[in-house]
Assembly symmetry: C2
Homo-oligomer: 351 residues x 2
Amino acid sequence: MTMEDSNQLGEFDLIARFFNRQSLIGNHKPHDISSANSVLLGIGDDCALINPPPTGYCLAITTDMLVENRHFFSSADPEKLGHKCLAVNLSDLAAIGAKPVAYTLSLALPFVNAPWLASFAKGLHQLADYHDCQLIGGDTTQGPLTISITAFGHVPNAQSLRRSQAQLGDDIWLSNVVGDARYLLGVERGEWQPSQVLDSIQARLHCPTPRIELGIALLGIAHAAIDLSDGLLGDLKHILIASKWNADIWIDQIPTSQIISALSPELRRLCTLKGGDDYELCFTAPEKNRQIISQISQELKVPLTRIGVITKTGSHDEFGKIDLIDSQNHVLPAELTQQYMRSFDHFQHES
Amino acid sequence: MTMEDSNQLGEFDLIARFFNRQSLIGNHKPHDISSANSVLLGIGDDCALINPPPTGYCLAITTDMLVENRHFFSSADPEKLGHKCLAVNLSDLAAIGAKPVAYTLSLALPFVNAPWLASFAKGLHQLADYHDCQLIGGDTTQGPLTISITAFGHVPNAQSLRRSQAQLGDDIWLSNVVGDARYLLGVERGEWQPSQVLDSIQARLHCPTPRIELGIALLGIAHAAIDLSDGLLGDLKHILIASKWNADIWIDQIPTSQIISALSPELRRLCTLKGGDDYELCFTAPEKNRQIISQISQELKVPLTRIGVITKTGSHDEFGKIDLIDSQNHVLPAELTQQYMRSFDHFQHES
């Protein structure tokens, strides 16, 4: 860990200024704070030290790397980028039901651009502060712009929302709406022309909301969950494979924004089923919990919609199959489903 | 976390093959193992889950990012590179006295090269297995070759070897020898011609040994420690700043290999004082512990040499000063010391 090298000569000084908040307040000693807090020792030593989680809880760990021109354009607003880099990690914590505690940041930068760094750090810190998630260390180096975050949270071991825990007959639920991020990406890439003013969905691609409160509220209520980063069908399939079931999805019940609702059925399905970057939660829960899930939805002010059901596999070996069913109760052709199920693969050109 | 996406189409399959050992043995369900083990849930979910450390222990966390052409040459042997990427992180765990438990790996690759990945994974797994440190998740993406690892270990909270704990009068110790890695790097870069066959020190640059056993043995014996990644003086200075002391260093007592001993005094000092990539431990301990430190050295078969002492600051505000003293008891000019103290800064050209 070298982020702490604020006493070195050179431009590490500058970087430390934006990320090491202890150095901002003139305290160059490692950050020792009361044991009531989870972080024993933050930025400023070879390692950070964090307290064990409370009894019955375990530590959830997730990591995501974002690369320029792959996950974001060079022109990306640095404040939103700072937000998004942490948000995609917090979204993984949400998907297992964990409460965020801390994170590390590794940053490769082609050169030091102070205004860019100040904005990036602002976006990062704002989201971190909202979730009381402390930056405890990291690394900075020269290189092609790459941002790697590892985030830590606490989750009650017995209730964690694992992908493998879906049960036969579970309802399949979706938070909020899907498809906006993919639609906007297509507009930015020139894949299609915008149908109307898209201001209302800008944040959905560039400034996603990790569903932390929802993940925690679903502990003991939902069986399995996943966050939607690579597309609804591809991500749902991870639950089906891990749990060894199939699913029916009622495609015309998938919730969307007005902008997505107004698209042609074909484009709407592409954006909602295969999209990506939604960072909503898809979860499964037993029928008996429908009422409490409605209450959670109202309390958190996050729409929760039933979009399908966990079904039995045809034979012992076949699982992970999804039947897409429209409002006329027709099952869509398997080839089409298969195409929607192909998540975004960073090593493949999309067809 | 997407490393687990072994059921996706595309070349993620290939990547998962090399890193997800569960997938190798045909078990596609998340890795549930007994609670006797630290890892509750490994690769294959939104997050990994790890058990709390034993009573009295806390979790040590460190992260390092390595970028092609910055931390390693494109021609680097991938097996040694795999070893080194993990070794530099384990070295940080060693420096605080932590026992490794698990790690995550984020990898940006320009393209998928199966033989390269197989060798890289081999080097990584060998070192991880030696220290019983489990790969619990990660991320893979297309991009300029960048490797980001976050490692986790257990350390008894009260005894952790923090930089801030050096005491006045402490002996300053160094493990093994320093200077080999910087000398070899200079040869590879064409900065100087090799004086002799360098086979005996190749591993010192490309395949460093993290001093895990030493760090653990020093718990309760040493006060402060740091691992030498950026150069002896620059790294020692971190201890002095954090502990608010100065130091005397007896430069002619700094242990070196025969190859470094045979160099001109000037080049020898550059390599040993300012070098970097040594991954030895520099630690401070009270005089009363000299005998037990000798015993530790013998038991672990790691040479440990006293190279200096922690001294008082001249005034309240001045700390982090190092006096370099030669065998004639002369103090080297401050300007020279200052030059040796400049650690490698990734955003600066070296003079």
